[in-house]
């Protein structure tokens, strides 16, 4: 009798969690604050009028910012400002920066040049950290595409992402220079599994969606440095 009660409770609790946790699109913010996988940006953008804010923690192990001496927090706000334009502001600050550090502010603009159709991928032109007061620590200029391959592979929500970035803008550090890409797979509306190559190293992560709006990101940069974050996304 006790076993049956426990089973019923387990089923009810699991059902409730699944009900609370669904996210129809499986799209959310990467560690940079832009829409993407673990670290890399993708060809998807926030929907028109969608607003996302959150905080991420970057592991110092593979970080160029602050010469990799400190774990770093990333605070971000991102908005789907137009149906084809995602804009973001992020503030990056080391955990113990010392008196000489003011942190780093970064603006990102991402234009979706193509929306995904049956035969063509979505395509985004992105520019991160092109305007800066102190130094461009996270500059990126790239073109990235995403294509849902669920029907090809016969699985639920599998998306391939492929991009190419350049270092044409003078900066202290550049991200995503060269070929980058990844795969995301959402076996359920509550969770997305991600593996990616960010043009320097391989990363992997998981994303969970709670109460439709809350996203939890956890993963390993270089497959050995734990990073993650939390974001809240809603429609204005």
């Amino acid at each position: 009798m006790m076993g049956a009660t426990r089973s019923i409770k387990f089923i009810l609790l699991t059902s409730l969690l699944i009900f609370l946790c669904s996210n129809d699109r499986g799209i959310s913010q990467s560690l940079t604050g832009a829409t993407g996988l673990m670290s890399i940006p993708t060809g998807e953008i926030l929907e028109d009028g969608e607003f996302s804010f959150g905080v991420n923690v970057l592991n110092k192990k593979h970080l160029e910012y602050f010469d990799g001496q400190q774990h770093t927090n990333v605070y971000f706000v991102t908005i789907g400002f137009l149906p084809f334009l995602e804009a973001g502001l992020r503030y990056t600050r080391a955990w113990e920066p010392g008196p000489s550090s003011v942190g780093d502010r970064m603006i990102s603009m991402r234009v979706q040049m193509l929306k995904e159709r049956d035969a063509t991928p979505s395509l985004v032109l992105g520019a991160h950290d092109v305007l800066s007061t102190v130094g461009r620590h996270f500059n990126a200029l790239y073109l990235v595409g995403s294509k849902n391959m669920s029907q090809v592979f016969g699985v639920r929500e599998m998306v391939l992402h492929l991009g190419y970035g350049v270092d044409w803008i003078a900066a202290r550090n550049h991200d995503f220079v060269g070929l980058f890409g990844g795969v995301s797979w959402a076996p359920h509306s509550t969770v997305t599994v991600m593996i990616e190559y960010d043009a320097d190293r391989l990363n992997a992560g998981l994303r969970f969606f709670i109460l439709h709006h809350l996203g939890l990101l956890v993963g390993v940069n270089g497959l050995d440095a734990l990073s993650g974050g939390i974001s809240y996304t809603f429609k204005l």
Partner: protein, 418 residues
């Protein structure tokens, strides 16, 4: 048939006077429905209400200070007016601000009936509405009509929250200031508004002199509507950015309100109040600007380019993009003047509640929204302008033909009363 003399006279009189008697009965019925509509609108709390009818049109002027959202107010006015407008072919609403007409909204009774009967969808019904900046002809009929529930000599105390934040200071990466700014305002005649604001600091990590209670914007403003959708606004008093003096603004809408041009001229001096003492300079600064504005109707996106001389006597331009997501505004701006370059964003979000108590001789209410602006380079002075609290574009941000039509389509709770 034998008809005597008196019967013949009666028949003759009946033939002569019947149309007139029928017409006067129609007039009486129309007048009764106009009175009834006026009574309903006043009872609901709308101000400066006038209802006038002729053979074809029922014209209704009203002023909303009940609903936070002007589009919600339009929908409520329609719900009250349309069921009583059966003797008219068209209903024309004229929303006002300080008794100044802003727009005309024309609805054909047949279209409304089709919507109520389910023949038209909400989208189809809204698409048939004619919303226009042109009020010149309709105002001729409404201007002389007596107003019920005047908005004049009523004092409003509106509590504004103020929040400022600076990022990236070496000593403290996040510094903030939180104030309450109660604003007392009243209107005494058409287009005039007096407002006085007091800033009460609650928390302050920014400038030390802002630790104290101080005056905010204190302004006497007169706004006029001229023919052909031209608006003029003149303000005198103490503005923000510690400026006092005069400010004049003119604005013209064209192409169904999608285009607007504006010019602004300010002549001000510095004034600051600290611990009971005013410090000030002579009025010696002329700020000027000219602006062109376009509204992208499908997106409720406003693109604005401004050029002129700003507060630091710097000359240059400012480009703004403002998006309206229902009652939420979010925008970016870029400034380039000979004092430097800057950019940032600003947003405005509505504050609870969505409906206020009817205005009485004295009323306290929260501000309609909370606004915040972020400047990327906070110490940079390029492109700064002072605010008078009476900018003409604020009149039409939520009373614009395209905005009204896009937002009316979102209301699903129509009372389909026949």
């Amino acid at each position: 048939m034998n008809i005597n003399h008196s019967q013949a006279v009666l028949w003759f009189a009946a033939l002569i006077y019947a149309p007139a008697l029928l017409a006067s009965e129609k007039d009486l019925s129309r007048a009764a429905s106009a009175d009834s509509i006026l009574h309903l609108l006043v009872k609901k709390g709308f101000e400066n209400v006038a209802v006038v009818s002729d053979d074809k049109r029922l014209m209704v002027a009203y002023e909303n200070r009940i609903y936070r959202d002007e589009v919600r107010a339009i929908k409520e006015v329609l719900s009250l007016v349309m069921p009583g407008a059966k003797n008219s072919q068209t209903v024309v609403l004229v929303p006002q601000n300080r008794k100044t007409p802003l727009l005309s909204i024309s609805i054909k009774l047949d279209d409304y009936t089709a919507f109520i009967d389910g023949v038209f969808s909400l989208q189809q019904f809204v698409s048939t509405m004619q919303v226009s900046f042109d009020t010149d002809s309709i105002w001729k009929a409404l201007r002389a009509a007596s107003r019920a529930n005047s908005s004049f000599y009523k004092f409003d105390l509106v509590i504004h929250p103020q929040f400022k934040a600076h990022f990236g200071n070496r000593r403290d990466p996040f510094e903030s200031q939180l104030n309450l700014a109660p604003e007392l305002s009243a209107s005494f005649w058409m287009g005039l508004r007096f407002s006085g604001e007091l800033i009460i600091p609650l928390q302050n990590e920014l400038a030390e002199e802002e630790d104290f209670v101080r005056p905010g914007i204190i302004v006497l403003n007169q706004t006029l509507r001229l023919p052909r959708a031209i608006f003029l606004s003149a303000a005198i008093g103490y503005f923000d950015e510690q400026r006092y003096g005069v400010d004049v603004e003119i604005r013209k809408y064209s192409h169904a309100g999608r285009w607007a041009i504006a010019a602004n001229l300010g002549y001000t001096g510095f004034a600051s109040y600290l611990k009971g003492v005013w410090s000030y300079t002579d009025i010696d600064l002329l700020t000027t600007s000219a602006a062109a504005e376009y509204r992208w109707p499908q997106l409720n996106l406003i693109l604005r380019a401004v050029g002129g001389q700003f507060l630091d006597r710097d000359r240059g331009g400012r480009f703004e993009l403002l998006r309206q997501f229902g009652e939420v505004d979010f925008g970016f701006y870029f400034v380039k003047t000979d004092a430097g370059e800057n950019g940032g964003f600003h947003f405005s979000i509505p504050i609870f509640p969505a409906k206020y108590l009817p205005a009485a001789r004295f009323r306290i209410s929260p501000a309609k929204n909370f606004q915040w602006e972020y400047r990327y380079r906070r110490l940079d002075s390029s492109g700064r302008q002072f605010e008078t609290g009476n900018r003409l574009d604020d009149f039409f941000k939520r009373l614009h033909p395209d905005y009204i039509k896009s937002q009316l389509q979102k209301f699903e709770d129509w009372d389909k009363q026949k």
